[in-house]
């Protein structure tokens, strides 16, 4: 009896292995496979769900409208990380086994874990506007990409906007800036730059860490803010931390127009939680909000209205949904670039790296893909894997996000040398760090 059970189990395992192999082979021939790590569950699901929907819907739309990219369908599936680093690494291993052409960690903690693996496994990491800022240095991190901006770009952009409001960066001298952050790799990432900018411009910084398990219990941090009375507050929050912080800020009557969030603290639900009093809350952004773009309308027609999306009707076009769309735009355009450069339709992960390194979405291409006004051109090079692109400040008007500034560049002249130094420091502390082997293939 036991032997029969064992034989049956072995047969099941063998069959499932054959099936998996068949899928992988099919992927290699007829389609391009992309794993989408997501978090639809857990404390960060409020941020993770709209992003997951946006990512999936744009790829589905391309499959429905254009038959994929370059005539090849994009196959994708989700891997639930729960924003947990260990699960994220497991997703990476699964993605590797299934020959994903790119890995999107969607967490700075996961990004930091998979960076050393990427060069060995030859899988490009796309950490879109998150992760290790120093990874923008393509010569040091040939397999990691963080367009359109690094966290350091984001922080410098906020300081620049504050400086402009104060009549110049020199006027920041003597000011007090509070930094409220998720006490994790993500929130700690911009602190070295913040300290250097504080020294350079003479403002004081007070840090307010929020532990992951205290995200919905921030009254102490905001009592401290009330006592310290900083001139400006900057938030690096995620998940349930954001709406709680907005609510607490309104509770202590902090002037919301002096409260800035990075682009990840700008979900519609984050601001909506503060009610009418949240009016004036400002965050960075690097793409449009709403659905008034031809490509978004195609998603609506071919995916949402066709019942192929998980997005709720009233959340379509929300800021974080569009963030997911933006991520898939970068992937799709990199795939297209790789196809053009290699002449292959079903590209490999190594081809994808070349595609990402030659990513050049100019105004003409933006118009062609139906996203005019949605985003600014994005260009990545072998040396610069981020691009340090323009951003803008958006403001919550009580019901929706509205642009509160023109597009402007971050403080690239300040950030770039610091990034180079940070990359060198990373290499030293992770010795022996492999030298770049991949050639810099450029378009002819």
């Amino acid at each position: 009896m036991m032997l029969r059970k064992l034989a049956f189990g072995a047969a099941c395992v063998a069959l499932s292995g054959l099936a998996a192999g068949a899928v992988t082979q099919a992927n290699a021939q007829d389609s391009i496979y992309v794993q989408l790590p997501t978090y639809r569950t857990g404390p960060y699901a409020g941020s993770g769900i709209p992003i997951a929907n946006g990512m999936a819907d744009y790829l589905t739309m391309l499959n429905e409208r254009d038959g994929g990219i370059g005539g090849v369908k994009i196959t994708f599936d989700e891997c639930e990380t729960g924003y947990d680093t260990q699960k994220g690494v497991e997703c990476y291993e699964a993605a590797k086994a299934n020959n994903t052409v790119v890995f999107n960690p969607w967490s700075t903690g996961i990004t930091l874990q998979v960076i050393p693996k990427a060069a060995v496994d030859k899988i490009p990491i796309l950490s879109m506007a998150y992760g290790l800022s120093a990874a923008a240095e393509g010569d040091v991190f040939p397999w990691v990409f963080n367009p359109p901006d690094t966290y350091w770009d984001g922080l410098s952009a906020i300081i620049k906007d504050i400086g402009e409001r104060e009549g110049g960066l020199d006027n920041l001298k003597g000011k007090k800036i509070g930094y409220l952050f998720l006490d994790a790799g993500y929130g700690r990432e911009p602190i070295p730059l913040l300290e250097q900018l504080a020294e350079k411009y003479g403002f004081a910084v007070t840090q307010y860490p929020v532990a992951g398990k205290e995200m919905q219990n921030q009254s102490s941090q905001w009592l401290n803010v009330r006592r310290d009375n900083p001139d400006y507050m900057i938030m690096w929050g995620w998940g349930a931390m954001n709406p709680t912080a907005v609510k607490e800020a309104t509770k202590i009557r902090y002037p919301m127009d002096k409260f800035y969030g990075v682009w990840w603290a700008g979900g519609d639900d984050d601001a909506r939680a503060g009610g009418a009093q949240a009016k004036g809350y400002r965050t960075l952004n690097f793409h449009g909000t709403g659905a008034d773009y031809p490509a978004l309308q195609d998603i609506k027609k071919l995916v949402v209205d066709a019942g192929k999306s998980q997005v709720e009707a009233d959340k379509f076009g929300d800021n974080l949904y569009n963030r997911g769309v933006y991520n898939s735009i970068l992937m799709a355009e990199a795939i297209r670039t790789a196809q053009e450069m290699t002449g292959k339709t079903a590209i490999t992960a190594e081809d994808m790296r070349v595609g990402l390194e030659n990513l050049n979405i100019d105004e003409a291409r933006i118009k062609e893909i139906g996203l005019e006004g949605f985003m600014k051109p994005v260009k990545v090079t072998c040396e610069n894997h981020s691009g340090h692109h323009q951003v803008y400040v958006q403001e919550w008007d009580g019901e929706k996000w509205v642009a509160a500034s023109d597009w402007f560049a971050p403080m690239t002249d300040v950030v770039e040398p610091l990034l180079k130094q940070a990359a060198e420091d990373y290499v030293k502390s992770n010795a022996p760090w492999p030298e770049r082997q991949a050639e810099c293939a450029t378009r002819s």
Binding site: R40, P43, A45, Q216, L223, R226, A240, A273
Partner: protein, 325 residues
């Protein structure tokens, strides 16, 4: 010397320099303590009646609040949704008793604890399956709970003797009132009703209670239902402060130091323990936290509880453990 000054003198100078802010800190600590106490109350109810440390109390808070908001979003009027949410917690209590607890009578306590851990993960998965993972906004106004705030400006209590500023959120005042009512009702229920006395008998000795005709199953169902109602009230109050999401389940762990401090079997202990932890961690974080870079709140509560344990191992109100050898 400077360090001693920073620890022993400066915090008190700060308190004296800005009394209105001290009042605000105490108020926030009080409200936080009441909310911790509400969570702890759910743990105490079940521990009292069955000796089970209900690890699932945190997810019950989330599940109850999500049921309420989910029903409202489905078009059910707020007050009917509240009643139905209470009914759902009743069904959950019956299910827990019938499917889990009944089959574990006379099992070691560790088995009962493990079963509540299993129940936690089941409820997380089931809750996400039913309600999805997206946070929801608590229907505070729809339930008739107050919003907005009252601003007090006590003369001479501000910085340098100027006018002070103390902001009292109406929802926090409501939380305090609801907690007081709930504790009073539970106190009467435990001490004055027949079921309450039966419940205490079960808590003292299962077999003795069974021998005088008390139904263990009935008592357990009642106590899980009571814990479910407490969870719903807790979920409403915590949800109103931020939002209703699965992250709330983690907040429930703040009840642990409250229980260590107040004792696992005492309702007044849960309240007093909650208040001591709530006020203690706020004072610590605000006045002593900056000395070590802040963020001490998450572990300070445990330190406070451990200090109390040194002197009273059974907790402030716990039953003294005396065993004859």
């Amino acid at each position: 010397m400077n360090a001693l000054y920073a620890v022993l003198v400066d915090p008190f100078m700060q308190m004296a320099a800005q009394p209105d802010f001290l009042l605000q800190v105490l108020w926030e600590g009080l409200v936080g303590g009441i909310l911790y106490a509400l969570i702890a109350l759910g743990f105490v109810l079940i521990f009292k009646a069955s000796g089970v440390f209900n690890f699932a109390q945190g997810i019950m808070v989330v599940f109850a609040a999500l049921s309420l908001v989910g029903l409202y979003e489905a078009g059910v009027p707020a007050w009917l949704a509240l009643i139905l949410a209470i009914a759902i917690m009743g069904v959950l209590a019956l299910a827990v008793e019938g499917l889990v607890m009944r089959h574990l009578v006379n099992q070691p306590e560790i088995i009962l604890l493990m079963s509540t851990i299993g129940l936690t993960y089941f409820l997380i998965g089931f809750g996400e399956f039913i309600f999805g993972g997206e946070p929801k906004v608590m229907i505070t106004e729809e339930l008739g709970l107050p919003t907005g705030s009252t601003v007090l400006e006590p003369a001479g209590l501000g910085r340098d003797g100027g006018p002070g500023l103390v902001i009292l959120q109406h929802i926090d005042i409501a939380a305090a009132i609801i907690a007081i009512v709930m504790v009073t009702v539970l106190g009467i229920f435990f001490n004055k009703t027949r079921i309450g006395r039966a419940l205490r008998a079960v808590a003292d000795d299962h077999q003795a209670a069974l021998s005088v005709g008390i139904s263990l199953n009935q008592i357990w169902a009642i106590v899980w239902f009571a814990a479910g109602i407490v969870a719903l009230a807790t979920g409403i109050m915590w949800g109103a402060r931020s939002d209703v999401s699965f992250a709330l389940e983690i907040v429930a762990l703040k009840a642990l130091p409250v229980l260590i401090l107040g004792g696992f079997t005492s309702i007044p202990g849960a309240i007093v323990g909650g208040l001591i932890i709530g006020i203690g961690e706020k004072l610590g974080e605000i006045y002593w936290g900056p000395l070590v870079g802040g963020g001490i709140e998450s572990w300070l509560a445990y330190v406070i509880a451990l200090i109390f344990l040194l002197f009273r191992p059974q907790g402030l109100f716990g039953e003294r453990i005396i065993e004859r050898i």
